[in-house]
């Protein structure tokens, strides 16, 4: 008779080769509890399905080890269950399958993280290239098309879009009428109340228009790259992203060469990374040592009063090092780093304010 001292539970236990629905009872006495496999669902026995399962299986609160602890000792373990459920025929097969699956999964994890930080580095460097080109090309466009649209105060992407729009009306006008008169068309309209603009010929309109549309495309590429970096950083270096921001984080990885190298750098190096010029100055002459390199771009450093920038940079760089280490070694997001950094920032700011107000009182 099942007494009331046993509370029966039915749960699913997930193993690398299948799901097992088990009933078990927690014994509150010292005797062993009860445990029984009710039904099970085995994973197809091929390496690729097993690997996929292996990689994606989330750690669960309930596993056979848990049952072993809590419901008493059972004469069962994974290997026996695999054989008794018919998943494998013997121990040898069990081990060789598990070996193949674990080797594949570890290889997958390693190669994934290997290529992913390389992808981030390529993307951030591509972003720099694109930005540089955009500056050059936009300047050229401004100078060139500016002659025909001197009153536009648009900039960058908007100016390029504007140029595409305006020139296309000229170019279109020509293809429609094919007349020589329409070769010269003023682009004067409601957008252009002031008439100091030079008339735009069809040839130039075509040329400037496609030039401007290339620039527009480049702007689109830029935002593609930015969102790519953003999402990759979140998955490859989530803790670093929380501490430094995705873009600065990616830049630091790129300067260090890899996430692994960044994680091995002392935080004093991280603090001055990208401050090459001032670092050489410091070494050559007796100029003060640089307090911050590229991490100056972080709000907490760049937007702080100069008196506390050094301290802020130090806190930031030490947390960047910590975060990079956590991301490289564990790969799991750890929110505590960001929190501890912020509370330290707050301390420095509070102290600074206090000192300042003390001075004022005196």
């Amino acid at each position: 008779m099942k007494g009331s001292e046993f509370a029966e539970d039915i749960e699913t236990v997930k193993t690398w080769f299948g799901d097992f629905t088990v009933s078990f009872s927690k014994s509150n006495s010292n005797s062993n509890g009860n445990f029984q496999i009710i039904s099970y669902d085995l994973c197809p026995k091929n390496i690729s399905d097993l690997c996929e399962r292996f990689i994606n299986l989330k750690p669960s609160t309930l596993d056979f080890q848990f049952l072993n602890q809590n419901a008493g000792t059972f004469p069962v373990n994974l290997r026996d269950i695999a054989i008794s459920s018919g998943f494998v025929s013997d121990e040898k097969e069990y081990l060789s399958l598990l070996n193949a699956v674990s080797v594949n999964s570890v290889n997958f994890k390693i190669s994934k993280s290997l290529t992913e930080d390389k992808n981030i580095i390529q993307a951030i460097e591509a972003l720099d290239d694109v930005n540089e080109s955009l500056n050059l090309l936009s300047e050229r466009l401004k100078e060139w098309f500016g002659v025909y649209a001197p009153d536009s105060d648009l900039l960058g992407e908007e100016f390029a879009e504007f140029a595409v729009l305006k020139t296309s009306s000229v170019a279109k006008g020509n293809t429609e009428s094919e007349s020589t008169e329409s070769k010269f068309l003023s682009i004067l309209d409601a957008d252009f109340p002031i008439s100091s603009a030079a008339p735009l010929s069809y040839t130039e309109a075509n040329l400037i228009g496609s030039f401007a549309s290339d620039i527009c495309n480049l702007y689109k590429r830029r935002s593609d790259l930015e969102s790519y970096i953003y999402s990759k950083m979140k998955s490859v270096a989530p803790t670093l992203s929380s501490v430094a921001g995705e873009s600065l984080g990616a830049r630091l990885i790129s300067m260090a060469g890899s996430l692994k190298r960044l994680s091995n750098l002392p935080s004093s190096t991280v603090q001055v990374m990208g401050a090459d010029k001032s670092l050489f100055k410091h070494k050559r002459s007796r100029a003060p040592s640089p307090k911050h390199g590229i991490i100056f771009n972080h709000n907490a450093v760049g937007n702080s009063p100069p008196q506390i920038r050094g301290k802020m940079a130090k806190i930031l760089s030490s947390h960047i090092s910590l975060a990079a280490r956590i991301d490289y070694y564990s790969g799991v997001f750890n929110p505590e780093i960001y929190e501890s950094m912020n509370s330290k920032f707050q301390n420095v700011i509070d102290n600074y304010r206090k000192e300042k107000s003390d001075k004022k009182i005196r």
Binding site: P59, L78, N99, S102, Y328
Partner: protein
């Protein structure tokens, strides 16, 4: 008994562990499960169709423990959970031992203790340090090798791809729930990680995986816990933690070994798991 079998100057002194006069008097070897390959630059000696790999105690805590006459035996069916596998230096020797066809599946302590030849060799098998066994199938031994750093894990996974009795695990040993869906109950946990919370990690993993009466072999590095405190005090602290355990289990300490001169500031602990009832 296979134990005294003398094969080309190599004599089995413990299951799967050999001594020989071919190198230094105290050198220990394992029979290579993957001939023609030197895993970490160790010397290889050939004898009668077999290769024996020299076990460098300076590169391996387990190798040092054996030199210190720790009575540790792995059988052909022993299941090992190895925490802090690094690139697999020690794991490769355990893999050799488990795969050795001269190795036995049963406890042979009395046979060995009776044999005076073996007593003179490093490592005497007595009841206290012999790993318990239940199964009898040959070649069913396995070493689950946990390492959380990618660089060494790359070597480890290469090793595992040619040695089928190694299951590589890229994971943090302080989160056993991440690998509990494929690791089975084990006879022995070997732990060599330099972490301040190494005792907690050992207790946690033992709660999950170590069979009742199973062995823990732990290398404690005094400097990784605290660099200022006296090593002796740290060892005592860590041993206290093991003896206290948690609500499910605790350990009975069998032996401790100072691993000097092979490893300075390291202590080897052999302990037996006790399930709290």
């Amino acid at each position: 008994m296979d134990f005294n079998k003398n094969s080309g100057g190599f004599r089995q002194v413990l299951p799967g562990i050999y001594s020989s006069n071919r190198a230094s008097k105290y050198s220990l070897f394992t029979k290579s499960a993957n001939p023609n390959v030197s895993v970490y630059g160790e010397n290889i000696f050939c004898s009668e169709n077999f290769e024996y790999r020299l076990w460098d105690p300076k590169r391996s805590k387990l190798g040092a423990l054996l030199q210190k006459r720790a009575k540790i035996s792995f059988f052909a069916n022993t299941k090992v959970l190895y925490l802090g596998a690094a690139s697999g230096t020690t794991v490769s020797h355990i893999s050799d031992i488990l795969a050795d066809e001269n190795n036995v599946c049963e406890k042979t302590s009395t046979d060995v203790a009776k044999n005076p030849d073996i007593v003179t060799n490093p490592g005497v098998v007595t009841n206290s340090d012999v790993l318990t066994n239940s199964g009898v199938a040959k070649n069913s031994g396995v070493v689950y090798a946990v390492e959380f750093s990618e660089r060494p894990a790359r070597d480890l996974v290469n090793l595992a791809s040619v040695r089928k009795n190694i299951i590589p695990i890229l994971s943090d040993a302080s989160a056993p729930s991440k690998y509990s869906f494929f690791v089975e109950p084990v006879d022995v946990i070997f732990q060599d990680i330099s972490q301040p919370n190494q005792a907690e990690i050992a207790i946690k993993n033992a709660t999950y995986f170590l069979k009742d009466g199973g062995k823990l072999i732990l290398s404690i590095k005094s400097r990784s816990i605290s660099s200022v405190e006296n090593p002796k005090k740290i060892y005592r602290q860590e041993i206290k933690k093991l003896e206290a355990g948690n609500e499910h289990i605790n350990f009975v300490i069998n032996n401790t070994y100072d691993l000097a001169p092979f490893h300075i500031d390291h202590m080897g602990v052999v302990a037996t798991l006790n399930k709290k009832k």
